[in-house]
C-alpha cells in the first residue's frame, strides 16, 4: 500500500498557548496523511470548528 492509497485524516488542534499549538501543527506536518483543517485558541472556537469541519481527529489541550 502506497501513501497515496492511505485515507486522508482531517484534524483540528486546540490549545490556548501559541507555542504549544504551533508546535503541534509543525509536528503534524511530518505525517502527510494528516491535514490540520483549523487550529483554535479556546473551547468555543473549537466547537464551532468541529461543527463546521467534522474532523476525524481533535487534538485538545485539557
Amino acid at each position: 500500500m502506497t501513501q497515496n492509497d492511505q485515507q486522508q485524516l482531517t484534524a483540528i488542534v486546540v490549545d490556548d498557548e501559541d507555542p504549544a499549538r504551533q508546535g503541534l501543527e509543525l509536528r503534524l506536518q511530518e505525517f502527510p496523511q494528516v491535514s490540520v483543517v483549523q487550529s483554535c485558541k479556546h473551547g468555543r472556537e473549537a466547537i464551532a470548528a468541529i461543527i463546521e469541519h467534522e474532523p476525524d481527529i481533535v487534538f485538545l489541550d485539557i
Binding site: 490556548d16 498557548e17 501559541d18 504549544a20 508546535g23 509543525l26 485558541k41 479556546h42
Partner: protein
C-alpha cells in the same frame, strides 16, 4: 572490636594490679590490712607503683587515644552527613519549586521555536532558562539576596512565561526605589508568581494582569503579588493539602520564612478588589 580490646586490656591490667593486693591480704589478719606503717603494706605500695601503675597508665592512655580517635571519626561522619542532608534539601527545594510542568512547557516552546527556525528566539529562551536554573542552584534555601537580584530572577522567569502566554500575560511592577537593596530569601517571589499565573492568568481566556509590589513600612518590608483572577474560592488557601500542585511551592516558602525569621514574618492570602488574589509577605526590613 574496640570494646573487646578495652575489656581485654582492662581485665589484664586489673589482674596485674590486683595480684600484689591479693598476696598482701592473704598474709595479714583483717585489722592490719589498712595499716600502711608496716613493711608489707609498703611493699604492696611499691609493687603497685613500680609494676602495675605504668601499665595502668599505658592502658588508660591507649583507651583515651582510641576513644578520641573514634570521637573524631564520628564527628567527621556527622558533619559529612549534615552536609549531604543540606544538599539534598536544596535539590528537593529546586524540584519542588521548579514545577515539572514549567520545564516541560518551556522545553516544548523552545523545540517549537527551533522547528520553525526562529533560532534567535530559541537561543534567547534557552539562555534565560539556563540563567534561571543557575540562579536556583547557586543559592542555598536559607540564603538571602538583594530584592533587586530577586526581581531580576523573577523577570527571567516571567520572560519565559511571556513566550507561552504572549499578550494574555500583562505585568506590572510597583517597586519603591530605595527598597531594592533590602535582603530577601532567595527564590521567594517565583513560586508565588507561578501560583498567580496558574490561577489568575492561565485559566482565563483573556489572560490577566500580575502586579508585583514592594514597599517599606517602618521596620518591615511588604511584598505583594496580586492577580485579577477569580481569587480565593470559599476561603480556600493555596498551600492546603488538597491543592497539592499549587501548594508545594507556597508551603515550602512558609517553611523557609519560619526557618529564617521565626515568628517575625507573615504570609497571607486575601481577595483583591474587585477580583483576584493578593499574596502578601511581610519580613523585617534588612539591608545586610
Amino acid at each position: 572490636m574496640f570494646r573487646f580490646l578495652v575489656a581485654w586490656f582492662g581485665s589484664f591490667a586489673a589482674a596485674l594490679l590486683w595480684q600484689p593486693v591479693q598476696n598482701y591480704i592473704a598474709l595479714l589478719p583483717y585489722g592490719e590490712i589498712l595499716d600502711l606503717s608496716n613493711a608489707s603494706a609498703r611493699d604492696l605500695l611499691d609493687g603497685l607503683l613500680s609494676r602495675s601503675f605504668p601499665l595502668l597508665l599505658l592502658w588508660s592512655g591507649l583507651y583515651f587515644l582510641i576513644k578520641y580517635y573514634r570521637l573524631l571519626q564520628e564527628e567527621k561522619e556527622k558533619s559529612l552527613r549534615s552536609e549531604a542532608l543540606a544538599h539534598e534539601a536544596q535539590l528537593l527545594m529546586l524540584r519542588y519549586q521548579l514545577n515539572p510542568h514549567f520545564l516541560f512547557n518551556t522545553l516544548n516552546a523552545i523545540s517549537t521555536l527551533v522547528l520553525s527556525k526562529a533560532t534567535e528566539q530559541a537561543n534567547e529562551m534557552i539562555t534565560k532558562l539556563s540563567k534561571f536554573l543557575r540562579y536556583s542552584l547557586d543559592h542555598s534555601p536559607l540564603d538571602k539576596v538583594s530584592l533587586a537580584h530577586e526581581l531580576e530572577t523573577s523577570r527571567l522567569y516571567l520572560d519565559i512565561e511571556k513566550v507561552r502566554f504572549a499578550e494574555r500575560l500583562i505585568l506590572n511592577f510597583e517597586i519603591e526605589k530605595d527598597v531594592e537593596q533590602a535582603m530577601v530569601p532567595t527564590m521567594l517571589l517565583q513560586p508565588i508568581i507561578e501560583n498567580s499565573i496558574k490561577h489568575g492568568v492561565s485559566k482565563s481566556e483573556a489572560g490577566g494582569t500580575i502586579t508585583i509590589s514592594a514597599r517599606r513600612v517602618d521596620a518591615e518590608l511588604v511584598l505583594e503579588v496580586k492577580d485579577d483572577g477569580p481569587g480565593l474560592v470559599n476561603g480556600q488557601e493555596p498551600g492546603a493539602a488538597f491543592d497539592l500542585s499549587a501548594g508545594v511551592g507556597v508551603s515550602n516558602i512558609r517553611n523557609r520564612l519560619q526557618g529564617i525569621y521565626g515568628d517575625a514574618h507573615s504570609l497571607t492570602f486575601s481577595n483583591a478588589q474587585p477580583s483576584g488574589l493578593v499574596v502578601r509577605v511581610i519580613i523585617p526590613y534588612d539591608t545586610k
